[in-house]
């Protein structure tokens, strides 16, 4: 079966050069690179919004931004980081690496793949453009709860553009996810059976399933919202017999799986980097695969832990609290297996490894603060405060973003044929790691002290901690600058990386390290056999 796809790929003529080549390409590697560059650009833009937010909170008396603009910045920061940065970055690495790792020449549907990528552009244009429409961008948060997001309370077209953009991004994700599933199911090289799949591929299989199941629910919820806004239906409007809580259930039915969609591929990356750098086979492969699947399944049964104070019944809270507890068990299994993978190894502290170990440090904290939040009485004390902000930034910045740094340092040589500077890398890591903890650690305290999130202003008592937090942002900014500089610098250097710069294949065969760096068009002259 792999052969007919392969020939289809090989006979495809290469027609264009330069920019046109990138625009018309259906090559999974080029599309992957475009996704990653897109993510990096949006990371900068979304990060700048975070900078403005922190600047405003440094001293709200300065009125750096108006409260109306603050809500727009906060909404767009989250939307950009989630949908345009993290999801696209993982989609990029997935696109680049999955076919290579399973010994395929391309994704199953190369044109669909290109289409899914190019859909991002109009979506991004709608999101950024919405800042310039009357009333400004969407300002109701990335969760966009009605009735606030209905026409009565958010009349501007910013909200409409936001809804349409997120629906578009959802369509793109679903197409991407189906492509990943078919690719992995159908195009594995001979001998690459399921229990030999590299963990990054496994994590993408589960992620893709989650996308396929969760995103349509979000799209449905958003279409109903759009219809409430434009067609005067009343799905979410009590006066017309609707119910705002319906939206919350639908949104979080998507929203919780979504948070795992944003971390599972990162887990997969770590499962490659740690063994390579510790020069030892991954510990507990089967347990890892089972853990990813349990997360994927239980992840659909915990959504209402985001609604513990929404007035849902006590018995519902008991159920969702227990289910959320369960999900930390497979997460724990992954942490222990990574530690056991390092155990007895001979560690090379490359930048990739520093980020991987740093990731374990921060993710443990983020996972355990999540467990605390699943304890309903505690959640009542800190729900919608800065404690929650601390929790999810520990898992998303300390988790997902750190895995992306690690993955970039690890696979950059494969993708470009060039090494990133390890010296600069060390700076990037320490600046980022210190900055990240500096910024987000004190937020736990702010939340416990009772500072609400999503606020442009706060009671004067919270000022000292807020100023301290804003100062830490500078470290993360410096890390971002150095990182970007390091990439640009490396791209001007000769391609000296070699096929397998980390000697990953000394430990275990990984097909992506068995081809040249960068790999040739269509990856493998001959489809490899795995035994």
């Amino acid at each position: 079966m792999s052969t007919h796809v392969a020939t289809a790929g090989v006979t495809q003529p290469r027609q264009y050069h330069g920019v046109l080549d990138w625009i018309t390409t259906t090559d999974h590697k080029k599309i992957g690179i475009m996704y990653i560059v897109f993510a990096l650009i949006n990371g900068w833009l979304g990060g700048s919004l975070a900078g403005l937010i922190r600047l405003n909170l440094y001293n709200p008396d300065w009125h750096i931004v108006s409260p109306a603009l603050y809500n727009q910045l906060m909404t767009m920061h989250a939307t950009i980081m989630i949908f345009l940065t993290l999801m696209t970055a993982f989609a990029g690495f997935g696109n680049y690496l999955v076919p290579l790792m399973i010994g395929a020449r391309d994704m199953a549907f190369p044109k669909l793949n290109a289409f899914a990528f190019w859909l991002l552009i109009p979506a991004a244009m709608m999101l950024y453009g919405s800042f310039f429409v009357v009333g400004g961008a969407a300002a109701d948060g990335w969760w966009s709860y009605p009735p606030l997001s209905t026409a009565q309370f958010s009349a501007g077209h910013g909200e409409d553009l936001w809804i349409l953009a997120v629906i578009l991004l959802g369509i793109s994700s679903i197409m991407g996810a189906i492509n990943f599933l078919v690719t992995v199911i159908d195009m594995r090289a001979p001998g690459m059976n399921w229990m030999k799949l590299p963990l990054f591929v496994w994590s993408w299989v589960v992620t893709a399933w989650m996308l396929v199941l969760a995103v349509p629910v979000l799209s449905g919820a958003l279409f109903m919202l759009l219809s409430d806004r434009w067609l005067n239906t009343g799905f979410y409007r009590p006066a017309l017999g609707g119910d705002p809580l319906l939206y919350q259930h639908l949104f979080w039915f998507f929203g919780h799986p979504e948070v795992y969609i944003m971390i599972l591929p990162g887990f997969g990356m770590i499962s490659h980097i740690i063994p390579s750098m510790a020069r030892k086979k991954l510990f507990g492969y089967k347990g890892m695969v089972m853990a990813i699947w349990s997360i994927g399944v239980i992840g659909f049964m915990v959504w209402a832990h985001h609604m513990f104070t929404a007035g849902i019944s006590a018995s519902a809270r008991v159920f969702f609290s227990m289910a959320s507890m369960f999900i930390s068990v497979p997460t724990g299994v992954k942490i222990y297996s990574w530690l056991a993978s390092v155990w007895g190894g001979v560690i090379r502290f490359t930048t990739a490894m520093k980020f991987a170990l740093g990731f374990i440090f921060t993710f443990v904290l983020g996972g355990l603060s999540g467990l605390m939040l699943a304890v309903v009485p505690f959640d009542i004390l800190v729900h919608n405060t800065y404690f929650v902000v601390a929790h999810f930034h520990y898992v998303l910045v300390g988790g997902s973003v750190m895995t992306l740094f690690a993955g970039t340092y690890y696979w950059f040589p494969k993708i470009t044929g060039r090494m990133l500077s390890e010296k600069l890398g060390s700076w990037v890591f320490w600046l980022f790691f210190i900055g990240m903890n500096w910024v987000f650690m004190p937020m736990h305290l702010l939340g416990i002290e009772g500072m609400a999130r999503r606020v442009a202003n706060y009671r004067i008592e919270f000022r000292p901690l807020n100023q301290f937090i804003s100062e830490g942002f500078i470290f993360m900014l410096l890390a971002g600058i150095l990182f970007t500089y390091s990439i640009i610098k490396a791209l001007r250097e000769p391609k000296t990386a070699g096929d397998d710069p980390w000697q990953a294949n000394d430990i275990e065969l990984h097909l992506e390290w068995a081809t040249s760096s960068p790999p040739p068009a269509y990856n493998f002259a001959e489809i490899p056999e795995v035994d």
């Binding site: 347990g287 009485p377 609400a452 606020v455």
Partner: protein, 269 residues
């Protein structure tokens, strides 16, 4: 500061009620924001904080184990350039079974441990001495004391100390969140629904705020609660009833169900 005092200030100074309120808010802001851990304001906050700490005690070992192991492997298994060969083991079923089953038992314990407190917070407020209807508005809170015909808005919530106070929450526009950390309470106020919470507090001044993004001035939607001994509360009531009677009636909130009916349905009336 009680409202009785407040309005007398206003009369004396010939200032508007709004200005007097601003003064009161300024006075109140001298008191720190209390939270359930440092200065719990009553049994609900105490129980909630205790349940949180109990859970946290279970969590600490997991933080410690992970961090100690992490530090250990980093120090012990560095490449010291001595040509040491890496180990080759890569599975250990009993170990993997243990690190699945032990955390599983622990998290089930943590969850079960929290349920009595959850039940207490949900159902513990029997025979409330006072029931208040809290109505969220963009961007202020309206407090109605149906037993006393009092209806105040954008003002300090005044309640008697050491008595079960029952709050029925709803909203006339968007979703708001009623959050007073020192009292250990948080509950959303949704349009078209009535949600409920209760507390029993020690005298004091408690600060809170709206916790559901509700629009432009969400951050300004603060909550101030003054818990006073019963005699002061009665004085406040007496004073305020006459005040409130002479004021024009507040516009009726769009309540789909009469709050009292909802309370009866829950058997709390």
């Amino acid at each position: 500061m009680s409202l009785a005092l407040l309005s007398s200030y206003a009369q004396q100074a010939g200032t508007s009620m709004a200005q007097a309120m601003a003064q009161a808010a300024a006075k109140g802001s001298a008191a720190p924001v209390r939270n359930a851990f440092s200065q719990p304001g009553g049994i609900v906050a105490i129980r909630a904080a205790a349940a949180s700490l109990r859970a946290f005690v279970w969590v600490i070992p997991f933080i410690l184990i992970a961090y100690i192991l992490l530090a250990y492997v980093i120090i012990k298994f560095r490449d010291k350039g001595d040509g040491r060969k890496p180990a080759t083991f890569h599975e250990n079923n009993p170990l993997e079974f243990l690190w699945t089953i032990i955390p599983l038992i622990v998290v089930i314990t943590v969850a079960l441990h929290s349920y009595p407190t959850l039940t207490f917070m949900e159902f513990g407020g029997n025979n409330p001495a006072l029931t208040i209807d809290v109505v969220g508005h963009q961007f202020f809170w309206e407090y109605k004391y149906p037993q006393y015909g009092i209806d105040i808005s954008n003002d300090t919530l005044v309640v008697p100390a050491n008595a079960v106070v029952d709050l029925d929450l709803t909203s006339v526009d968007v979703i708001h969140g009623f959050y007073v950390p020192g009292l250990g309470i948080q509950m959303d106020a949704l349009p078209g629904r009535i949600t409920n919470l209760w507390f029993k507090a020690k005298p004091g001044y408690y600060k809170g705020q709206c916790t559901q993004l509700c629009g432009v001035n969400h951050a300004q939607m603060l909550i101030d609660v003054q818990v006073v001994p019963n005699d002061q509360f009665q004085a406040w009531l007496a004073k305020h009833r006459t005040q409130s009677a002479s004021l024009p009636a507040a516009p009726p909130a769009a309540l789909p169900v009469a709050p009292t009916a909802a309370r009866k349905a829950r058997g709390k009336a």
